[in-house]
Amino acid sequence: MIRTPAQRAVAAALLFLASAVLAGIAPAEHGVEYHVFGIVEGLFALLLAYLLVLRGAWPSPAGVPGWAAAAYGTLATAQVLEFLFPPPGLVQWVVVMGMAITAWSVFSAGSPRRLVASLASLAVILALVRYSVIPVLWTHIGPAAGTAFGLGDLAESARRIFADWRPVKPAGELIGFLAVCCWALATRLVWSPAARVDGDRPTAD
């Protein structure tokens, strides 16, 4: 049914929109939170969108459908980064600075396939930090707030400096996973395997 590049671009834009909406919904302990990306995620999404177009993983935008796909793709990337980046604090500063410094050398080399594989690895590492490392450390470092004659409040302050983390329900991680799936599906829709860029080398076979 979806045959032409324009149709693929529109379908990808719809999937990117679904990804952006889903990535910001976080069922918390009491109610639902709606997260919108900040300046850090937005700037990083712009950089990644530029690299994805440059390396041919996303087609160069042409016409209204192409630009719509690129714009919604950037929005979805920012929202997915909001879901994956560690919460504000020392951990986020270290992770984002490390990524920003190494981004060009890591992501700009190689073929579109390598770029997407690098992004997938990055997503796994970010998810590990945010949804495994931080919660485990949070529950095991020091007494809880309001306990131990004030020591818990001190421990809470220290924890907040490292990461201003708020627990989410397991459903939140599932919704985020669906958002990442939508992003990957949309990228697959606009993917043009025939495109070859500087980093691509023909294989022997």
Binding site: A6, Q7, V10, L14, A20, H30, A62, G63, V64, P65
Partner: protein
Amino acid sequence: MPAPAPAPAPAPVRGDLGGLRDPFVIPGLILLGVLTVLAVLLYRAAPQTAAEVGSTALVAVRPDAFTPRVSRARERVDAAQRARVAGDTSGAIARYAEAEEEALSARERAADTTQVRTATELWANIVLDRAELMLGSGARPWYRADDTQVLNEALASVQRLRQVSLTPGTRSRAADLDTRIRRQLRAGPLEWLPR
């Protein structure tokens, strides 16, 4: 007889902005626009349950209507009470603030005096519920300093009710709360003494 000239290659279609004449593309872009607006409304209203999505949509469709805003304010009050029961004081205060905003908005859009009275009474009770919660969260034992910022904010909320006409029951509740907040703002054990 000369051979017929080969048919010329079709000229590129001018004005076709990257496949706009493609079937499904224009409907797809319209759908994209509609879904984008719905997504913005969803994030703006931030409904907490699936049931709230309906009333949010009603307010979005009829932004000037009185009844949907009153219903929405009552839903926010329910959400605040649920948060309060669950022990989430800051969440409950935030939900009450949203309910206050909706009730005030309904009051501004009231068409007659009955609606004004209903919305005012609803708004006043929400303000008092929120102030009561703030008093609970800002008050500390006598040997520890109170959170005066929260208490002053609660006092300012209660004092705003002086500007509107209320039923005797609500007015007396407001006066009682005003006294309790003022007493709590006094230093140390002085808070136990009557003024």
